[in-house]
């Protein structure tokens, strides 16, 4: 729960770092800061944001400090005090989530499984957010033939289901962590760029941009200092939504056997893939708990994304 309490704080500092915006206009800056403060106040009070942060905070804690929550080695068989190895035992006091077919503690594997996905998903999302925002800002502001070409390429990428493209890319270049992160980043550039481009296009038509142009400001200044602060809300919402999809894609790739690590490494998607065929034999626990872990993380991220979206659009 400590991590959950920390997290809204993290959000605060993120927002406050954005605050010193244009130094040019005095009164508008103050209004914007007030609006931001009010939005943050609404945000930290919304139930979806609180629940989402508790869930995501729990998994962050598991990723950062798994030994705090789990005692068993996720890769070794559980051995009782009497010296017997447990295999496929149902959940009980020793192994809270039961043991899998190799006698490994499912609970420990679930806790330790948070780290790989919570490193790869934010990494891929941030790379995509950075490039996608740049592409969206520049194509939306300059328009012209580069924008036309770019829009067609993005549309082509979006016309193939992302998971299929991810499979093709990861198979072609080999299932290593950099390839997987790079593939997801590449695929998410398209939707982020498209959203930011649309927002930039709308902003470019507003008077303040015309005014800046007439003042003789350079395009780079207009894009980074005038337009960007006004589309940052769109970027934040888009990035949190994409983070949910990155978790989705990573988990699905792992389920299909495309994970960066070794098969014995704790990984939620891999664990579901290796155990789901035992469900018909009523050995449900090695599958259900990692599946619930994936589900809860996606739901947590979605709740956060949705509450940010609601606050910013209210």
């Amino acid at each position: 729960m400590t991590a959950a309490a920390e997290n809204p704080g993290a959000m605060d500092s993120l927002e406050t770092t954005e605050l010193p915006v244009p130094p040019s206009g005095g009164p508008p800056t103050a209004t914007r800061a007030q609006v931001r403060r009010e939005q943050i106040r609404l945000l930290v009070r919304s139930p979806g944001f609180i629940i989402g942060n508790i869930v995501v905070g729990f998994w962050l804690l598991s990723a950062v400090w798994p030994d705090l929550l789990a005692v068993w080695d996720p890769k070794a068989s559980v051995v009782t005090d009497a010296g017997e190895a447990l295999r496929r035992t149902a959940p009980d006091a020793t192994a809270w989530f039961g043991t899998d077919r190799l006698g490994r503690d499912v609970y420990s594997r679930v806790i330790h499984g948070a780290r790989p996905i919570l490193i790869a998903a934010p990494a891929a999302t941030l790379i995509a957010a950075f490039i996608g925002t740049l592409v969206g800002l520049f194509t939306g502001y300059f328009k012209g033939w580069i924008d036309e070409v770019m829009s067609r390429v993005l549309e082509a990428i979006l016309s193939i289901p992302a998971i299929l493209l991810a499979i093709v890319i990861v198979f072609t270049f080999g299932p290593t962590n950099p390839v997987i992160i790079g593939a997801i980043a590449f695929l998410f550039i398209a939707p982020i760029a498209r959203t930011v481009r649309a927002a930039t296009l709308a902003e470019s038509q507003l008077d303040y941009v015309t005014a800046a142009r007439m003042r003789g400001e350079k395009s780079l200044f207009i894009i980074t200092r005038e337009i960007f602060p006004n589309v940052i809300g769109v970027v934040i919402v888009e990035v949190t939504v994409r983070l949910g999809y990155a978790i989705f894609t990573l988990a699905t790739l792992a389920f299909l056997g495309l994970s960066g690590g070794d098969v014995t490494d704790p990984n939620w998607g891999v664990d579901v893939a290796q155990n789901y065929q035992q469900i018909v034999a009523e050995v449900w626990w090695p599958t259900v708990f990692p599946a619930l872990a994936i589900g809860s993380l996606v739901i947590g991220v979605n709740l956060i994304a949705d509450s940010i979206d609601r606050v910013l659009s209210s």
Binding site: I160, V280, T287, V298, N302
Partner: protein, 320 residues
Amino acid sequence: MRRFVVRRVLLSLVTLFIVLVLITLIPNLAPGDPARKIAGGTASPERLAAVTESLGLNKPIGQQLTDVISATFRFDFGESFTRPGTTVTSLVTTSLWNSTKLVVFSLALVLPLSIAGGVWAAYKRDSWIDRLIVNIGVALSSLPEFVVGVLFLVLLAVPIEFFRVVADPPRGSGVFTQMQYLLLPALTVLTVYFGYIARITRASTITALDADYTRTAFMRGLSTGQVFRKHVLRNSLLPTVAVVGTQLGYLFGGMVGLELIYNYPGLGRMIFDAVDAADYPLLRGGVLTVTLIYMFATLAADLVIAWMNPRARLSLSEAA
């Protein structure tokens, strides 16, 4: 209208061309010799040469691209590498038919339920039922299908005999048996899509309910049912049509995890197996089929919207 259609179709063709470039490049980008990967490490030089030849990898890239384009228009990608003697076209057709059954059955559940849910939520705006529907949507959309799929296996298929653990019915089953086998995968699609589509329908229904024409219709003394049928739904279902159009490519080709869990031989799994076996002709045929489905679906959706709402024509041709 005609100008809009022409422009929209031309744009689709440009997109198709870019996808064709992508699928031509794929085997060329693979590190190492893809022919050796397919033929196996111990293959004779003659066999390697034959595989390279059939992949077209010894030709310049421009020639490869025209070959792929010509294969696309004939819809003939030759024989599958993994199953010699079987054409890609016949494999794609079989999988496409299986996927079609799953998608049609799923949408038959998803569309009425989620549209009704969305309209109901909009009608009862800010009530507990509205909040429930919206929050289900937030929580469940973008859950991986394989996660929902395994949970249904545990909760439904194992304890209740009526639900099947595999989705592929025995050969020669009747329609109802086939539907019984497809029920769990379809319920999985319903779970993932219900909230998403309900939310979009809700938002557009609220916009339509707040519009002046709706108020006028109520003031003219029309009943709630008449107002909904004649004024609200006509406008509020447009975004839903558009969203379903954009999701069709995914429904046909993206549900690899679900098709694996329920052991269903659909398009997604066919493409996954083709990638796994470096079966490039099958991979190209499959990816292209999914792209074409997406293109036709989004095109059809845009045309339906343009036909139903003249104002949309302008904004669509701007956006497209």
